[in-house]
């Protein structure tokens, strides 16, 4: 295909004339280049960062993967799940269980993803009959039941005694530094993110969105509702499982209370704050939700000399900002950080003719 335009232009409107252009991953050659530069920076910059920032980035990466999964389910196909914390836990405990029995991490991780996908599909079955609020309640039940299972199934999870998981090794080199683990996480997150972005351009992705927008219309157009919904649950739980599988060896000690209702809510908050149905939104949301408690902590250490009692109220402040952030985003920017970022970009792209 001949590109007549100057390769470094930016689009200032929609000039697509074919479906291929509409479906393209990168609308302009420049955006493709920018993507590659970003990937390069992602892998280059961490080398120069201190360990503390690397540990934050590691968490962001883990939550990004889990949020990506939930976003595929809730944002793209419109099925609400309040049980993703449990699916993440399923992945984490499976990887721990398999590694304890001598399986290599590289085999255990995909298996953990698949186990989570299976459980996700199982608890996605009610979506065949329920939607909206009712489905959300059903997934809440899934969370409660799985939490109970994690706590009781000593043979699988170690129960209340928690479980220790070893860091994986690659070609005899153990990934026990923050940097090496970050590279593992980044690679996985990139692969899964690109997969998600590409999925949205396929038949399957369009089917998911059709189900979200109007299930009846989707069915009339030949989308198999049941299959699509259960697929969405399985895929999304797979992402959550992989996130759990990445998380477990990172923190090295996992216990059932890490994967309770609270985690499910945090994941939901991530995709709401980041942007529903937008792949990059999961990244922004995960980063926001990881940074928020850290910022609260830093801020309260700063204020410590003025209000000495603030140290004991840290948890409380964190919860309060968490709740307030959710409410404020829902009221003022329901489409989340992704939309805010797009607005900023649009402002500069269209400047000075922003109408």
């Amino acid at each position: 295909m001949i590109r007549l335009r100057y390769p470094f232009t930016m689009e200032c409107g929609v000039y697509q004339t074919t479906y291929e252009q509409d479906l393209a991953l990168h609308p302009t050659p420049l955006s493709a280049w920018r993507g590659w530069v970003l990937v390069g920076l992602l892998f280059l910059v961490p080398v120069f960062l201190p360990t503390y920032y690397l540990s934050i980035l590691n968490l962001v990466v883990v939550f990004t993967i889990a949020a990506l999964g939930l976003n595929l389910l809730t944002g793209v196909s419109g099925q609400i799940s309040v049980g993703h914390g449990a699916f993440t836990g399923m992945g984490a405990f499976t990887v721990g269980f398999l590694m304890k029995h001598g399986l290599s991490f590289w085999l255990a991780m995909p298996l953990a993803g698949l186990t989570a996908a299976l459980v996700g599909a199982l608890f996605g079955l009610p979506s065949a009959r329920l939607k909206g609020l009712y489905l959300a309640i059903a997934s809440l039940a899934a969370q409660v039941i799985l939490s109970f299972f994690f706590l009781r199934a000593d043979w699988f999870t170690g129960g209340i005694n928690s479980m220790s998981v070893m860091r994986p090794t690659l070609f005899g080199y153990s990934l026990d530094s923050e940097l090496s683990y970050l590279y593992l996480g980044l690679t996985l997150a990139l692969l899964l993110g690109v997969f998600a972005q590409n999925l949205l351009r396929t038949r399957m992705g369009r089917a998911l969105m059709a189900v979200r927008d109007r299930d009846l219309a989707a069915e009339v157009m030949g989308v198999d509702l049941f299959k699509t919904k259960v697929m969405a649950f399985a895929l999304s739980a797979f992402y959550a499982g992989i996130a759990g599988a990445l998380w477990a060896p990172y923190v090295m000690i996992i216990s059932p209370d890490q994967f309770d209702f609270h985690l499910s809510i945090e994941l939901l908050a991530m995709i709401i704050i980041g942007g529903l149905g937008v792949v990059m939104g999961s990244v922004y949301g995960a980063a926001f939700m990881t940074l928020l408690p850290i910022l609260v902590r830093e801020l309260s250490t700063l204020l410590m000399p003025i209000f000495p009692s603030i140290g004991g109220k840290l948890l409380l402040l964190r919860d309060a900002t968490f709740g307030t952030a959710i409410i404020l985003f829902l009221v003022f920017e329901p489409e989340g950080l992704a939309r805010l970022w797009r607005k900023v970009k649009d402002y500069y792209r269209l400047w000075p003719f922003s109408y």
Binding site: L130, L133, Y134, A136, L268, I272, P334
Partner: protein, 297 residues
């Protein structure tokens, strides 16, 4: 054999009284759903808030219990109106995910505000109810349980009458049925929704005060907010009698599984209601008494 029967009866009675408390909490939940189609996941926090307000009047300000109950119902109504006005108003007609998330955000906010004001220590109402149990044949039941049961039944009667005969109650039902039609009939939907949250907060306060009398007041009370979901689903999300009957059924079920199965599997009684809930959702999503209008896929 009669010992076994006594055990069973004791468990059942215990289940009934716990069920009455569930019913009290579930009522507030059902009210909000009935009038606005919102599932309020902050119900547990509203219960806790009610309990603390009651505690403040009854213990700190030394107001007689009945007066304290009335006063805290009043204050809770104001809190309910404020919550609706400040937080829920922009969400009229928004998709379920936004509403679920906003009530979750609200629950975090309320919980931390409570924490900030009252701390997390276990506090108790002192000397409101006698601690000696009343024995009825083979079963023993403490006074506070009996009064909770009475309170639940009185509220049931009052609320049923309210929805059936009062103008505001009918307006609430109309709003729940069809917001647009209600608007065109001259009903102020905003005012109706504010009233709904006020009533729900009042019911939550009653529930919270009785719960606080039984187990003491501390943030663990909020767990009732999630526990009543199975109750509401079983009874039908939009049915007031359903909330009461569902409360009793879940209460008895929980008590029986606690008595018979817990020795083998600790904590199973916490999960059984949720298992039941999933089954009900699959078989009869509108519950025992709910209106059969929910959209099936």
């Amino acid at each position: 054999m009669s010992d076994g029967l006594g055990f069973f009866l004791n468990l059942s009675v215990n289940g009934i009284v716990v069920g009455a408390l569930y019913a009290l909490v579930a009522l507030g939940f059902v009210l909000i759903y009935k009038a606005s189609g919102v599932i309020n996941l902050a119900q547990g926090e509203m219960v806790l808030l009610g309990a603390y307000i009651g505690l403040m009047f009854s213990t700190s300000l030394k107001v007689p219990f009945i007066l304290a109950l009335v006063l805290s119902i009043g204050v809770s109504a104001l809190v309910g109106i404020t919550i609706e006005r400040v937080v829920l108003r922009p969400f009229i007609g928004e998709p379920p995910i936004s509403i679920i998330m906003v009530t979750l955000g609200l629950s975090f906010l309320i919980k931390s505000v409570i924490h900030l004001i009252w701390g997390t220590d276990l506090r108790s109402f002192q000397g409101v109810f006698r601690s000696e149990p009343i024995t009825l044949g083979p079963v023993a039941i403490s006074e506070v349980f009996l009064y909770s049961l009475v309170a639940a039944l009185v509220l049931l009667a009052v609320l049923t009458a309210f929805f059936k005969y009062s103008i505001l109650g009918i307006a609430m039902r109309a709003t729940a049925d069809d917001e647009q039609a209600a608007l065109s009939m001259g009903i102020s939907v905003k005012r109706v929704l504010a009233a709904t949250w006020a009533v729900a907060a009042m019911v939550a306060a009653v529930g919270g005060i009785f719960l606080g009398n039984i187990a003491g007041v501390n943030p663990l009370l909020t767990s009732y907010g999630l526990k009543v979901l199975p109750v509401a689903i079983l009874g039908g999300l939009d049915s007031i009698p359903g909330a009461i009957v569902g409360g009793f059924i879940i209460g008895i079920l929980e008590s029986l599984t606690g008595g018979y199965l817990d020795p083998y599997m600790t904590g199973v009684k916490e999960v059984v209601p949720f298992v039941v809930m999933i089954l009900i959702l699959l078989v009869k999503p509108y519950g025992l008494f709910g209106k059969e209008i929910i959209e099936r896929v």
